[in-house]
Symmetry: D2
């Protein structure tokens, strides 16, 4: 019997290294931890800031981390990525991060994070913004990105809730402990 | 003496065929016409709706039109593109449309248009939204896309003004009649 | 002390479903198995034919498999991918498959496989062709792709040797059982 | 009656600045000139070497030149491009150059040129190699790139013949003086 091995893939997006605050870094760590506890795979842009903190949170809790980086050399990825996908396509890799997720969680972030939310919105994926994490997560949390009202950007009070929102929306993609 | 032949490149972005209104279509036509009159090159996503109306406006006024399409076959482009760039990279081509512009003008539009504004914002290009054209042009016109306040989305009352805003911001890239 | 968790990433490229032979499919399965036994991560294009057989070989031997697909929806991937990267950029994803590998192994294949070998060649990665697997693996095995003689396409008689060639060339990227 | 304005688009590919010979540069200039004389649009990778010489040949003979560059800033393009498409996707832009051509002409070149020929081959476009121009043009001229024998790489003795081969294969895409 054919049986898919793929686990649920959750993307964490947000501030890069330059602008990451302690609040956002801590929130990202907790989101990474909760993704690991839910036996989902953490997808991210593979660089510093929120991406690195989330990867660390996942790795320190037995999770799996995938970094999809803009560059074509492995060395740009943070040290907590299990697998590095070197796209070489620059910031257009934002499309790939969002397309490769069953749901995404924003922690702070600038316009690059907004673009990733936009790609997820376009394909009606579940988008969660961490309350109080700053940046576009707080700017756009609770809103719709265009007049079509396709999917709301759901505000989550804590990391566990954020992950639960995505799990609930993706019950058909089972998270499998045996994969 | 080395002398660049490149003219100013202005992107027109907005509603695709499915959601384009008469108001947006007319505004796009006028923007295309004004780009042609300014001897600039019109860059767009090459498909229907705002893209097609803008190309028609430029072509009926002696302009040059470039369509940068998601597909890898020419046949998807609208009939008013002088040159078709077949990217084959899907909607990630939004990055290329915005990167290939000295400034961009939004006419209505959904989240794809927001993404293109986001890419332009990230690289601090001049972004103009046509007043009253609907969609994200009206939703985000007059605002900044993130907390860094990099560049405002300037609201323009008419097509001529929209093009003038971009010309004024790019005086170093001369529009050359002899190119 | 900072310590990288990333394991060695080996790409398997070759015939897609339409043209895959039994010989190539079996060879791909064995290559997948040997990658798993070496505790490396299998990278591939995520679709059918050689990609699917290699993933199956890895999964049935405790390995980890990453499918980097041209499409933006998960459903196109074969059922043996642990993680699916939905690029949405069409066949330009060949660049990403090759860039995301520490070394690549070709099993048969048409011009798409040649393109992936070309990308790996450009960045001087180790390229191995499975002897007798048909297609471009046999056409270009033992040769250099251009007049610069950057890296040879090494011919391997069996799957174990193919993987050993890549392990030997990447001793600095340790394969870590504890990751 | 709907009437397409698009002219025939011919790509010139080959050596970049680092490895370009005088022979290849002269051949590229002549190819650019003949493309202009045929009222076709010259498509290229927009950088130096063969790309620059071909653009110069076209511009000095009244042609139109499009440079599709890997970078996201205009300044990397050579000075003879009428329009610059800033892809920002690195060398994956080779796919776009080939996809955006009705036919391609190779003048010398390394593995990047081979990749572009591969993309054109995959979609059965007319591929011409300039005889005696060195590099992959001479290495693969007269051959098929894989065992499917999809399209041959036609050898041309001079620039005029090279362009004629592509014109003959694309009679349905009319080159229009009035566009």
């Amino acid at each position: 019997m054919l049986r898919r091995v793929r686990k649920l893939q959750i993307a964490v997006i947000g501030y890069n290294k330059d602008r990451c605050t302690d609040i956002a870094s801590n929130a990202a760590y907790e989101v990474g931890r909760e993704i690991a506890r839910a036996s989902a795979v953490l997808i991210c842009g593979g660089l510093g800031g929120v991406m690195e903190s989330a990867c660390r949170g996942a790795k320190e809790n037995g999770g799996i981390t995938i970094g999809i980086i803009p560059q074509e050399e492995f060395s740009y990825a943070n040290q907590h990525c299990d697998v590095v996908v070197c796209t070489g396509i620059g910031y257009a890799r934002d499309f790939i991060v969002a397309s490769s997720a069953d749901g995404i969680i924003a922690v702070g972030g600038g316009v690059g994070t907004l673009i990733e939310m936009g790609v997820a919105y376009m394909t009606k994926k579940t988008i969660v913004a961490m309350a109080g994490s700053g940046g576009v997560a707080d700017m756009y949390g609770g809103k719709f990105l265009d007049e079509r009202y396709l999917v709301p950007i759901t505000i989550a009070k804590d990391a566990k809730t954020a992950v639960q929102v995505i799990l609930a929306a993706n019950k058909s993609v089972k998270s499998q402990s045996g994969a």
